[in-house]
């Protein structure tokens, strides 16, 4: 049997596993209670799936709440140096608006230096390379990672790349230096926030992915490893290492989409019980409904599109019901233990597409949008999607105020996970 896909959904208390075939039918579903360290729990669940199936699966995809749990408990976060490029920004210092405790546990040296670009990519100011070297000196031995954010880097990433190169020269190889254009999105403060959090989570993200890879090796499973993002779509393990902030908590999104897969409902309110905490999301048109615009993770303002209900502190179900536009309620937490609903999250992650999102500013003729479409498709392929089947699945265009013909464009490309057919262990 080939083309089988294994999905794991990991929380603090349980791991659910589903092996699904190409029609998204469940071939096998098992649950184990977690007993101690992740390593042991992974061995338990992979044993339960069984060696025969494990050698037949071509992809393993993992949804988890683990990084989000670490963020919430302020554990495993590392100290981050913060470099911002652009002297126009000085009245709004880095970490503005953060919960104080989180900011204090993360903040290393910070500095704002000259440089950056205009919205059309023209230089805003000369890059102050001397100040960047000086900043590197302040960071040496003090931080595990550095977040680098320049004005308008999404349209002109070179300035950040130059700063990263200078910092790498000055600092030892173990310091992870992360430019904000990698994280993406317009709004310097929100992009910087995401980059800082991403840098603080870098080691925890690597550790999680290493643990998963080693477990698959121990069980002779040669399948490609993918991780589910906050919106429930997948990223390859390699890309995931760069983007832990996108992997904080994929459980809600996968539960919502999975509830639709299991029941056949297109629109519903989905309630899940995760480690004893009730959470609710919205299924709309068979997909998880996302919050547009500004959202918040752990009290930190960002522009990522997250599932409605992601960081709500317990939104009343009646409100989410208005979003869902239906009275249909799917309660995963109270479903019988042998019910397929119990495996909604694991099924959804087993069968999820790989996707990538791109934000761009376009003005004038359509040709620039075709470039942006290609960029979204390229990024999805880089994230592990099959080049032959990757398509644009969503385009949202918003005209920009006071910019004639200017539009902000959000594009999402998606495709099934790519599996090499040459070196398959079969």
């Amino acid at each position: 049997m080939t083309g089988l896909r294994l999905g794991l959904s990991i929380t603090q208390r349980l791991i659910d596993a589903v092996v699904a075939d190409t029609d998204s039918s469940i071939v096998r579903s098992v649950t184990v209670e977690r007993d101690g360290a992740l390593k042991r729990s992974l061995d338990d669940i992979l044993d339960a799936v069984g060696g025969e199936l494990l050698t037949s699966v071509s992809t393993v995809a993992v949804a988890s709440t683990l990084l989000s749990d670490q963020l919430r408990s302020n554990t495993a976060l590392q100290r981050v140096g913060i470099l911002r490029i652009g002297m126009t920004t000085t009245a709004i210092p880095p970490l503005s608006g953060w919960p104080r405790e989180l900011a204090e546990s993360i903040a290393g040296p910070q500095r704002i230096v000259r440089g950056g670009n205009e919205l059309d990519g023209a230089p805003l100011d000369t890059l102050d390379t001397a100040a960047i070297r000086e900043f590197a000196g302040q960071c040496a031995g003090q931080v595990a990672a550095i977040a680098v954010t320049a004005v308008f880097s999404p349209v002109a990433p070179q300035v950040e790349s130059e700063a990263v190169a200078i910092l790498s020269e000055e600092l030892d190889q173990t310091t992870r230096i992360i430019p904000s254009h990698l994280i993406g999105g317009f709004g310097l403060l929100e992009r910087e926030n995401a980059t800082i959090l991403n840098a603080a989570l870098a080691a925890a993200g690597h550790e999680l992915i290493d643990e998963l890879s080693r477990a698959l090796q121990r069980h002779d499973c040669g399948a490609e490893l993918f991780l589910a993002q906050n919106d429930g779509n997948l990223l390859s393990a390699d890309t995931s290492r760069l983007m832990p902030v996108r992997l904080l908590d994929s459980r809600l999104a996968t539960s919502v989409r999975g509830a639709g897969l299991v029941t056949g409902h297109a629109d519903a309110l989905v309630v899940d019980s995760i480690d004893g905490r009730e959470r609710a999301g919205v299924l709309r048109g068979g997909e998880v409904a996302l919050e547009h615009g500004v959202s918040s993770i752990g009290g930190v303002r960002m522009l990522h599109w997250l599932p409605i209900g992601f960081d709500d502190g317990g939104q009343p179900v009646s409100r989410l019901r208005r979003y869902a536009g239906t009275d249909e309620l799917l309660d995963l937490g109270s479903a019988p233990t042998d019910s397929r609903l119990r495996y909604a999250s694991a099924l959804a992650v087993a069968t999820a597409p790989v996707s990538a999102s791109v934000w761009a500013i376009v003005s004038g003729p359509d040709s620039s949008l075709s470039l942006t479409r290609q960029r979204a498709i390229d990024e999805a392929i880089l994230a592990g999607a099959d080049p032959n089947e990757t398509r644009i699945v969503s385009v949202v265009e918003t005209p920009l105020s006071y910019m004639p013909e200017g539009r902000r464009v959000f594009l999402r490309a998606a495709g099934p996970p790519f599996v090499s057919t040459f070196d398959n262990p079969q």
Binding site: I92, S96, G97, L119, G187, Y323, P399, R408
Partner: protein, 354 residues
């Protein structure tokens, strides 16, 4: 009154409402003010009547595209430069006066006053968010300031001296674009008698009261919201989910319509740089220059024209325009026809339930 850190949140909410979907997100101004007033500082808000007749005022506003502001953020340096500019002013002014008290443009002059350590006058030139530098009461009265100064975030300035009737919008907008779509705007110093004659008094304190009232409306039943709005001459026009957002190009820029589907009504909201017209089942129920507000029902955040998108659950509210805009001349500058709609100003009706 003394404006302190405790007033920042309600002021920002009021400012977003006065923006009618424009004026820029007050959030950055909120952050700037919070850090300026963190250690117990305050800004004196002074009424024009309480200022000495000899006082001189310096208007403050940001001009540009919200998209540029969210990347370039805000600085402090230009504030000192504009306030004390030797080419523009014979002496250092006594107070800051807001130019357009809406959105970020409400919060920024307050922050400027905090930076400079001077009072902020309780008045402005527009009384609501406006899309053009020409849509001001002084322009309506034909008494524009003698000169305007634009200062980009790196301190480069351009001064425009006016003679007779001219469109500041046409002159200034290309300069602002060349400056990277963000500039700080001031004018030659205004004396108190000019401000008393040609600005709208009480805007700042009214905005704060508006914000305080709206904070009490979150989580209320719709009929309660409507009843409380009626006390300030406002009305709840409807509620529902934005099911469609359609944009089209036109000679005067991109035009967008939102369809809001609710239980009892189906509203269409027409917008450009602000929300302009609300249509209920084919009937115009509110129009500019009245202040049209679209609020996210869950977060209770007033939405900007750029952020109002499909799937959001909203209430649509109308608040009365400053009276100066409701004269025939005011409507000619700020009514629906001035924004390219082929319809006359339609006042909304207060009361009468939903």
């Amino acid at each position: 009154m003394r404006f302190t850190a405790a007033d920042i949140r309600p002021m920002a909410l009021g400012a977003a409402i006065m923006g009618s979907g424009g004026g820029g997100d007050p959030y950055l101004g909120e952050i700037m003010l919070s850090s300026l007033l963190a250690s117990g500082g305050h800004v004196d808000i002074v009424s024009l009547d309480d200022l000495p007749d000899s006082a001189q005022l310096a208007p403050f506003a940001l001009v540009g595209a919200p998209h540029a502001i969210t990347e370039k953020l805000l600085g402090i340096e230009g504030i000192h430069q504009l306030f004390a500019d030797a080419n523009l002013r014979s002496r250092v002014p006594d107070a800051v006066v807001p130019y357009e008290f809406a959105g970020l443009n409400a919060m920024y002059p307050l922050a400027a006053a905090a930076v400079l350590g001077v009072p902020c006058a309780d008045a402005d030139a527009t009384g609501r968010g406006v899309a053009s530098l020409d849509t001001t009461v002084p322009a309506l009265d034909g008494v524009q300031a003698e000169s305007f100064i634009l200062c980009d975030p790196l301190g480069r300035t351009v001064t425009v001296s006016a003679t007779g009737a001219l469109s500041m919008e046409r002159l200034a907008r290309p300069i602002v674009e060349s400056m990277g779509s963000l500039a700080l705007l001031s004018t030659s110093s205004l004396d108190v008698s000019y401000c008393r004659g040609h600005l709208i008094p009480g805007t700042v304190t009214r905005c704060l009261e508006l914000g305080r009232l709206f904070l009490t409306l979150h989580e209320r039943e719709l009929h309660e919201i409507d009843e409380r709005l009626a006390t300030i001459g406002g009305k709840l026009l409807g509620s529902g989910t934005i099911v469609e957002r359609i944009s089209r190009t036109s000679p005067s820029g991109a035009r967008t319509a939102l369809s809001v589907h609710g239980d009892d009504s189906s509203l269409r909201v027409e917008l450009m740089n602000e929300f302009h017209v609300v249509v209920d089942d084919g009937v115009v129920v509110a129009s500019v220059p009245d202040i049209i507000v679209v609020i996210d029902r869950d977060t209770w955040a007033p939405l900007s024209v750029e952020d109002a998108g499909e799937g959001q659950d909203v209430v649509v509210i109308a608040l009365p325009a400053p009276e100066r805009w409701l004269t025939p001349e005011g409507l000619r500058h700020a009514g629906p026809r001035a924004h390219g709609y082929a319809l006359d100003y339609t006042p909304f009706t207060v009361g009468g339930g939903l």
